[in-house]
Each structure stands twice: as C-alpha cells, then as structure tokens.
Amino acid sequence: MTLSISAVSHTYRGAREAALDSVSLNIPAGGVFGLLGPNGAGKTTLISLICGLLESDQGLITLDDEPLALVRAADPARVALVPQDYAFYPMLSVVENLRFFGGALGLSGALLRQRCDAAIAFARLEQVTGKLAETLSGGLRRRLNLAIGLLGEPRLLLLDEPTVGVDPQSRHFLLDAIAGLPASGTTVIYTSHYMEEVEAICQRLAILDQGKVLAAGTLGELLDSDEQTLELRLDRPLPESLLSKYHAVPSGALDFGLFLPSTAALPELLAELAAAGCEICYLSLGRQNLEQVFMRLTRRSLRD
C-alpha cells in the first residue's frame, strides 16, 4: 500500500495564501511517517485532505494508484482519523463512546464487542471503561481518542498531534503504542511539532512549512548535511555583526543557532565572540537533530 500525494494544493475560503502549495509526497506501506512543522505549516490541512474532510483545489491523492476518494467510498473504515481534538462524547462512558463509534462504522453484534474489547486492551483502558469521558485525565482522553480510531482496523491511520496536553508517562505509553501499530499492518501518518517524538518513532518524515514540503526522506537522509549548526548560549545578546554573518536564529532569550560552513570555522567564531566580550555558557556542535535541520532549511526556529 503506497499513498501518493501529487502536487496537491488547497486554499481555505476567504484566505489569501494557500494552506498547501503543490505538495508531493510518497508514503510507503508500513512504518510511521512523520509530518513535522510548526503550527500553521499545513499538517492538519494535509491530514484533512487525506481523510476526505477537505477537497484539494489541485493535485491527486492515490492509494495503490487508485484515487483515495474512491477507496474511501468503497470502504470508509480503511482510512481512520484521530483528530487533534477530543472527538468523542464527554457525557458518555468510555465503553459507550467505543460502542457508538463502532456502530457509526456499521459494526454490530459480536464483531462490535470484539473490536471494542481489542481497542480497550490496546489503549489499556480496562480500568476506566465505565467512567464518563468527561471525568478522564488528559492522558486517558488521548488514549480513548486513539482507541476510537482503531475500531475499524484501518490500513491507514492519521494521527493529528496525538500527544498534545498529556503527562510524560501517558506520552511515553502513546508513543510506544503508536510505534507498534505497523507490526499489525497499519500504516501511520503522524503529525507533530515535537521533533523528539518524530525522531523517536518515525522511520520516514517530511518537514512542512508555510504549505510547502521543505524536505522529505528517511531520518538519516534529513539529518545528513555538510553545513554545521552550532547551538550557543551566551551571557549577553549576540552582537549584530555576528548575527548577520552566521545567519544566527534566536531560539531563546540568549540562545542562538548559528550556521557554520564547516567545523574549521569554529576557532574564528570563538575569537570573534571573545573580542565582543561574550562569555559562552553552553556550546554544542556536531549533533544534528530535526530542530537544527528545520532551522537550516528555514532560518527560523521550529517553535516560532
């Protein structure tokens, strides 16, 4: 199963700029595919186009060379969305919510019960099946949100920021659970603006910004670059002359990301900082991460 997105564009009604501008991606079967980008990059728009909530103005999305809209029409359960919101009923219990969404998928009888039990077991919700959803903690709500998405045993699961607002323990559990989904034959598209999460569970990813794909490939391909990104924390602001010379990107009050053409340029930078009276509190060079890749591609911080 390969999901192919070819030159897809979408502009929201009344908006001046396109939310997605000629986006092309190939997402192979199996694995977790990450969509990384800051808020407003176009991740949710792309997810909405894939699950049919929006229609693209241009371009085509196919699944195994068949238009995705036809695939969804033939079997709506094949593609499932776990939205960013807690998209369930707060006044219903966990099991009532699961039964409702299972019924809405057309499931009934023994099959409905079996799917609900499997979803409860997967999300480890056994202790809270009778609790009203509105009384659950943030982490349990996220688990219920995920469990509902699995009721139809989808081949393609779209997860839109599934760990927003959860405690570290629940986040860890959710990431482990999601990472295990491809083993049961489900391809996962995972959107997040948390680079650590994407680095941890995605084998392939694309970086989106302002409606465009900046880079796509395996994690190794994206992290591999000659240009060195230097992380720096100083005791005072970086002088203007150095800011422009090294295309520095502020990532905190006194934190900066600087771009060095090579490691050999480091001694010169240190000398310039000393001449400017700047004392170095923290320095990191050589360990590339997605934050730095994003900075390198956009000259902006991912969290801007």
């Binding site: 359960a77 499932a80 939205p83 960013q84 369930f88 006044m91 019924g103």
Partner: protein, 407 residues
C-alpha cells in the same frame, strides 16, 4: 460494514444516553411545562368561563331604603357575578371596609333614590343625586367596568319596572306595587361547533395544549447543546471522516426527540386529566376515535417543526450559551406572540393577526380545532401544512448552513 441499521441504532442510543444525562434539558422538557400547566390552569381557572362567579365582593350602602333601592339590591343579587357581603348605612364605614380588604367595591345609593328614579337630572329644576361607586384601586379595571355595566343594567330594569307600575296606575290597570318582572335580559354564551354545542374552552383545555406546544419546542435546548458539543469537539468531523452521511446524523436526532415529544404529550395529557382535577380544576377531555388520530397528527407535526427548528438554531449558533439564548428567547417570543402565554382570543385584533405567523399558534390552533371545534382532517390540514412547511424549510436551512460552514 456500512449497513444503515447499526448506524441509526448507535446514533439513537447516543442521543438517548446524552439526553438522560442532561438534567437541565430534562427539566426544561418535562418539569417546566407540568408546572406551567398546573399554575396557569389554576390561575386562569375562571378567566375562561363566561358567566362564572367572580370572586370579588361588594357592599351596598342604601341611604334611601325605599322599595326601589331594595329592588335594585335584589336585582344585583340575581346576576350573581359579584358577591355581595354587606349592606350598611354608613358610607365612611364602607370606605374603611375597602381599606381593610373586606370588599373591593361599594355602591352608594343616595337618599331619595326611589323618589327620583324616573326624574332626569335637572328636568324638574331639582338636582338628582348620582349613585356612587367606591373602588379598591387595585381591582382589575375590566372588573370595575363589568360592575358598573351590571349596575347600569339593573338600574335600567328597575326603571322599567317603575315606569310600568306608574303607567299601569295612570291607565287604571291592576298592578302589584312590588312587582319585579323577569325581563328577558339574560344572555347565555353558547360556543358554536359542528353538530352539537358544548361549553367554551376551559382553562385546562387552553393550557394543556398551549404548554405542550411550548414544551415541545424546548427540545432546542438539549438538541443544540449536544450538536454544539459535537461540532466544537470535532466529533462531527470524525463522523464525516468515517463516511457517515450528514443525513444519517440528522435522522439520528429526529427520531429520539420525536419520541421525547410524544412522551411529553402523554405526560401533559395525563396531568390535565388526573392531576389538575385533584387540585380543584376541571379535567381535560381528550377526543376519542378518529379525532384522537387527528390530535396525534397535530402533535407529530408540531414535533417535526420543533426538532427542525432546534437543528436550525444549533446550526446558527456557535456556543451552547448562544443556543440557549437564541433558542430560549425565540421560543418565548413565539409563545408570547402565538397565544401560549396570553390566549389569542384575549389579544387585540392586530396582535391576533401577528399571532398567525407563530408556528406555536399553528400547533395550538390545530389542537383547538380537534379538541374544541370537533374539526376533522380537512379542518386541521392548513395548520399541519404550515407546520410541515416550517419543518422542511428549517431542516433545509440547517443542512445548508452545515454544508457552507465546512472549509
């Protein structure tokens, strides 16, 4: 996988569970109208009965004490609408009686009342002292006027008696001096209906259908609150993403709340039939046979209009608070204009014309046509068509609003 029945079953179960856990919604649907029916039926018990005794007491201060003044008092007693509790001779004492709430009206008959009964004021060069009416200022002006008219009518009768007696004397006819004739001045109210005549609508017959219609439209509160949660929480999007047509979602709401409306109808009718009589009111009389089916057709049409209107309000508003304000105020306006709170026949002509634009008035007219005028299907058809057209337009607007709000 995509069979219709499991989907509808899931939607109906969800709506039912959500409603059962919405205490405010249940109170608005079932408790509020029952209270309204009981309170308004008892409060307006006599307002709907022409000729019923009015519980307003009056006193007569007879300063003349002549056969004519006594005849006037007897004549007033005969009408029986107002309650005479005392006859005194002192106007100041009577004034004090009003202040102490013993009675609300005092009719003062002046000295020489009998003597000057047939003498127009100033006709013989002497003044004729008028009758006086002391009034409790808090008394309903309509009742004050009614008492004045009743007294004027009795006075006219006494004058006619006196004139007949004197004319008889003049022409030498044998006339009993104290003769009080039964003039044919009684007016009996008869409601016009098909085939047979029954009494005009009672308080319970006005109030049960009126507050039933009002309560049915209050499904706007639970429907809107659930619908807005579905939209705000992204549940509608999720349902769309799994291929659930919007028509199914609407059908999932129509049936449970249609059933809720029918339960409301049964409850309100039972209250009218059994609880109101226990509190001293008149029992509600329900039509039987084919008329009962016509009654149900009206109830069903009101229900469809109410649920469709609720879906329109839910689609128009963004938050639950907005829905409560728009839906609640909209209902109260429709009720006030449509003859729920103030019966249409009590309204001035211009307001009655305005009432014809309220869907609640169409429902109430339909119920009254069946219950009071014994109207058949042809008679209720115009109201049914208005309600169903309103339902179809509201539903279409709701679907259009939901489609156009999608990005």
């Amino acid at each position: 996988m995509s069979s219709l029945l499991p989907r509808l079953h899931a939607l109906w179960t969800k709506e039912t569970l959500a409603l059962l856990r919405d205490r405010h919604g249940l109170a608005a649907l079932f408790v509020m109208p029952v209270i309204f029916i009981l309170v308004m039926t008892m409060a307006l018990h006599d307002a709907f009965m022409p000729g019923a005794s009015i519980d307003v007491a009056y006193a007569v201060v007879d300063l003349d004490n002549s056969p004519q003044s006594q005849a006037l008092v007897r004549r007033l007693d005969k009408s029986g609408s107002f309650r005479r509790i005392a006859v005194g001779q002192d106007l100041d004492a009577a004034r004090q009686g009003i202040r102490e709430n013993q009675y609300a009206l005092v009719l003062g008959l002046p000295a020489k009342f009998g003597e000057r009964l047939l003498a127009p004021a100033g006709a013989d060069g002497q003044p004729t002292e008028p009758l006086t009416l002391l009034v409790d200022p808090t008394l309903n002006p309509a009742l004050q006027l009614a008492f004045r008219n009743q007294t004027a009518a009795a006075l006219g009768t006494i004058r006619a008696d006196e004139l007949t007696r004197r004319a008889g004397k003049l022409f030498g006819l044998p006339v009993s001096p104290a003769a009080e004739r039964d003039w044919p001045d009684e007016i009996v109210s008869i409601a016009v209906q098909n085939q047979r005549s029954i009494r005009p609508p009672s308080s319970v017959q006005q109030n049960v259908p009126a507050w039933l219609v009002f309560a049915m439209f209050f499904v706007v509160i639970p429907i809107a609150s659930i619908f807005i949660i579905e939209r705000q929480e992204g549940t509608l999007q999720r349902l769309r993403a799994i291929g659930l047509p919007f028509g199914h979602i609407l059908a999932g709401k129509l049936l449970p709340f249609f059933v809720v409306n029918q339960l409301q109808a049964v409850l309100m009718v039972l209250v009218g039939m059994f609880i109101v009589p226990m509190l001293g009111g008149e029992a509600l009389h329900m039509p039987a046979g084919r008329s009962l089916i016509h009654w149900w057709l009206v109830a069903a049409s009101v229900s469809l209009a109410a649920v469709a209107f609720a879906l329109l309000v839910a689609s128009l508003t963004r938050t639950s608070q907005q829905a409560v304000v728009v839906g609640g105020v909209g209902n109260i306006l429709m009720g006030a204009v449509g003859g729920i709170m103030v019966p249409k026949f009590m309204m001035p002509a211009a307001m009655q014309r305005l009432a014809e634009w309220s869907p609640m008035a169409w429902g109430l007219d339909g119920f009254h046509t069946v219950m009071l005028r014994q109207g058949g299907f042809d008679a209720i058809l115009p109201d049914l068509l208005k309600l169903l057209t309103f339902a179809a337009l509201s539903l279409t607007a709701a679907v259009w609003l939901n489609r156009s709000s999608q990005p």
